[in-house]
């Protein structure tokens, strides 16, 4: 009897310790209190296209304008309609991605503009081994078709940055009538 009482007491005490952690997870109570987290960019945590919340905890953004992207082949032509956006119907355009060692990439939000065409824009986060290997760690196709839009794409598997092992680049391509206006990486340092 005493042993049972003791066991229940310990269990209750442990549940008490766990309670704050459960509350922070926000899995059943909506979003956690904002003041606990270190988001640097309003309106708050990024949300995946399927509606799921990004990871909780200290997270940061890296926002690169579309006009900072460069073609990976000179045959690709780029025009600049303004607003930090670019238009290009050739090969991919890209920029180097350099994040802190060990950071976890939660996803990329692609900002783009579509004048109503049926075309789409692609975004990728690709790693290169320097010796002929490459891997698309994130790849997404955004197909919204009216005005300025954004979509978020996450990796298929957890993605941690290894700066000594490979280089990383963010790439984008777009069909006629589309503009890529930027890419925002959401990551946990």
């Amino acid at each position: 009897m005493i042993r049972n009482i003791l066991g229940v007491s310990i269990a209750l005490a442990m549940c008490g310790l766990c309670q704050p952690a459960l509350a922070r997870e926000g899995t059943s109570e909506g979003f956690p209190p904002q003041e606990k987290y270190n988001y640097y960019n309003l309106p708050g945590p990024d949300i995946a296209a399927d509606g799921s919340a990004a990871l909780l905890g200290g997270s940061e953004y890296l926002f690169v304008a579309g006009s900072a992207l460069t073609p990976r082949a000179s045959s690709t032509t780029i025009t600049y309609p303004g607003g930090g956006c670019i238009s290009s119907t050739g090969d991919f355009v890209l920029t180097s991605l350099n994040l802190p060692q060990g950071a976890e990439v939660i996803g990329i939000r692609l900002y783009y503009y579509n004048n109503g065409s049926a075309s789409s824009a692609n975004v990728a986060l690709t790693s290169y081994s320097g010796s002929g290997g490459s891997s698309d760690l994130i790849f997404g196709t955004a197909s919204g078709n009216t005005g300025y839009l954004s979509e978020f794409f996450g990796p298929a598997t957890p993605l941690f940055i290894d700066n000594g092992g490979q280089s990383y680049a963010m790439l984008a391509s777009m069909g006629a009538g589309l503009r890529v206006c930027g890419m925002r990486v959401f990551y946990s340092p």
Binding site: S52, R72, S74, S75, S131, S167
Partner: protein, 209 residues
């Protein structure tokens, strides 16, 4: 520990990383003795042999570089590499990318990644600019004809980053070859991160885990 049911594949992995880190820390002292005995001699840009500290890296894929001259033409043969394909005779063979390192970091090595099956070669330069028309090539490294993919390491150098004094580029001379037998695949800078913990700056040895 609880599991985020919205991203079930992600949170456990993150938690697992912390758990693994804790376990690894506990065994680090014992394991390091065995590892030191068994590991092959590391490449010189893997560990700062003077301090024993691990380098930070900035690795930029070749495809992210851009030509200095709009007339220069280049192609993308794949795998993050680029090849110069021509342009008028006066077109520059130079491609460049900015280098952004933390203030106080000390750049130590420049490693060039390439595909070289040609008689020409690629040379990469770590260059600083003062904004007044002056530049300083702190180190350089060239490719060799390996018949395929390879990498070459520069000599050891030491440039302390001072963001208020100079900008930094890695600039690559793609030589005279105008086809994909010569490809630039990237540049990796090994650097000592800036010392942020001054307690261990003098008289104490700080060994990061």
């Amino acid at each position: 520990m609880t599991i985020n049911i919205r991203r079930p594949g992600v949170f456990p992995a993150k938690a697992l990383r912390h758990i693994t880190l804790g376990i690894c820390t506990a065994f680090a002292t014992v394991a390091s003795v065995a590892i030191a005995a068994e590991a092959a001699t590391p490449a010189s840009d893997e560990v700062n042999e003077a301090t024993g500290s691990v380098f930070g890296y900035l690795w930029i894929a070749g495809a992210a570089f851009h030509p200095l001259d709009n007339a220069t033409t280049y192609s993308y043969p794949g795998s993050g590499c680029i090849s110069k394909s021509g342009g008028p005779g006066t077109a520059s063979p130079l491609f460049t990318h900015k280098v952004v390192l933390p203030d106080g970091a000390v750049a130590r090595y420049l490693r060039l990644y390439y595909y070289d099956n040609s008689t020409s070669e690629i040379t990469a330069f770590f260059t600083t600019y003062d904004g007044a028309g002056n530049f300083n090539e702190r180190t350089n490294v060239a490719s060799t004809d390996t018949g395929g993919f390879g990498s070459t390491l520069s000599p050891l150098f030491g440039y302390e980053v001072d963001q208020s004094a100079a900008s930094i580029n890695v600039t690559v001379n793609m030589g005279t070859q105008n086809d994909s037998t010569l490809r630039f695949c990237g540049a990796r800078i090994a650097y000592d991160p800036p010392v942020t913990d001054r307690i261990f700056a003098n008289g104490f040895e700080f060994i990061p885990l």
